[in-house]
């Protein structure tokens, strides 16, 4: 009854209007399909092919703010693709990592993107118009590969999950780009870039996925020990509660609303 798109799909991202989808089918290429709002995969039409990476593409993110796609791969690179003249053109991003990239996410305001990498650092890149490229600032302090990143709705706080069993929240406040705001964790202007604000070791397994609630008041992360942990930041302090399940571990977690979570 159902047809397959490919033998394996590594990652995907929906376009802002949800009519197109960018998919990596376990290779170095990314295909953009249009008519992706049709429920049957046979109606999808391959529209564009993004060629640029040497090794498998591990994550794609499509920003609704400026319609740019960012892709990252095991070949230590990330490209930002812009749609001009009916073509997707890549632009260089200097990540400065010497290991593979595992996850990439645009900040909600579209000015920055963060990359989770095996080099145990998280480069946060912003655009430098002087040289027309994206340059990075590093968040260090991880003891092992970073598997996933998630931006707080205010685009200045970043949560990361890592194979060192911890979930951490960092400040990704870049002075020339961001304006300090009052967040649930305090005034963001207080922290300088790369400061670790809190960290949680509630998981006994590798942290595979992290997500913020739409309001930014809660954080959830899933671990390889089949646990899902929720952190509530309200009231100024962080309270972390974990649930263990008897099933196999979850790999990703997502908030549908402030009260509903899918994993």
């Amino acid at each position: 009854m159902s047809t397959k798109l490919a033998d394996g799909v590594t990652c995907h991202a929906w376009s802002p209007d949800r009519k197109r989808i960018a998919v990596c089918e376990n290779s170095e290429r990314v295909y953009i399909y249009k008519n992706a709002d049709k429920p049957s995969v046979t109606d999808w039409v391959k529209e564009h092919e993004l060629v640029g990476h040497d090794l498998v593409v591990s994550a794609i993110d499509w920003s609704p703010v400026h319609n740019k796609i960012v892709t990252c791969s095991h070949d230590r690179n990330a490209f930002v693709w812009t749609f001009t003249d009916n073509e997707w053109k890549p632009s260089l991003s200097i990540l400065r990592i010497n290991r593979a990239a595992l996850d990439v996410k645009w900040s909600p305001d579209g000015t920055k993107f963060a990359v989770a990498s095996g080099a145990k650092v998280v480069p946060v890149c912003h655009y430098e118009s002087h040289n027309d490229w994206w340059i990075s600032k590093m968040i260090k302090k991880h003891k092992s590969t970073v598997t996933s990143v998630a931006w707080h709705p205010n685009s200045q706080l970043l949560a990361t999950g890592s194979t060192d069993f911890r979930c951490r929240v960092f400040s990704a406040f870049i002075k020339d780009i961001d304006r300090p705001t009052n967040s649930i964790l305090g005034d963001t202007g207080r922290f300088s870039f790369g400061d670790q604000i809190v960290d949680f070791d509630a998981s006994n397994g590798w942290v595979e996925g992290v997500a913020w609630s739409p309001s930014g008041n809660q954080l959830a992360f899933v671990g390889h020990d089949s646990s899902i942990s929720f952190v509530d930041f309200e009231g100024g302090s962080s309270v972390c509660k974990s649930l263990k399940s008897k099933e196999l571990p979850n790999q990703k977690v997502m908030f549908l609303s402030d009260t509903v979570v899918v994993a």
Binding site: L55, A100, G118, T145, D164, N204
Partner: protein, 181 residues
Amino acid sequence: SEFHLIALVFYQANTLRPYLNTVRHTLDASLCLRNFPSQTVERHNKPEVEVQSSKELLLNPVMICRNEQEKCLIESSINSVRVSIAIKQADEIESILCHKFTSFLMQRSEQFIVMRRKPAKGYDLSFLVTHMHLERMWKHKLIDFLIEFMEDIDKEISGMKIAINARARIIASEYVKQFCP
């Protein structure tokens, strides 16, 4: 991690099913693998259970024992699992048969895709399953294969031993016929 060293001792009579069920459930949990690029060498992708380069990427090994001789060691990591089995060898004939049979199989390990060319130390046969295998094969079918393999190998060796004894008896009686009419 959630795995600890387990030694399960059962009575001989009805131990096969519980033993295989335990192995099946442990494999089901261990085979949650993901594509994980090496964090020690750039652009490389290695089975972490074999290189053992980063301790945090390895899970605690689990040993499931049916009795003193027959056991199964499952070593797990973020992108690969090594399953080693020790086969029942009750007497010398079974020991020789087991040795010859496993070395026959291991020489042709490419045909079995997940078989390792050399067994782990202290065991007779080893399998190495990586995330790439799970991308191509169904996980439940792969586990079925491993469990059936463990069951069948005992039957094969017993079958061969019976065949040897039968053949020896036939040959001996033919030989003696020369001397006693």
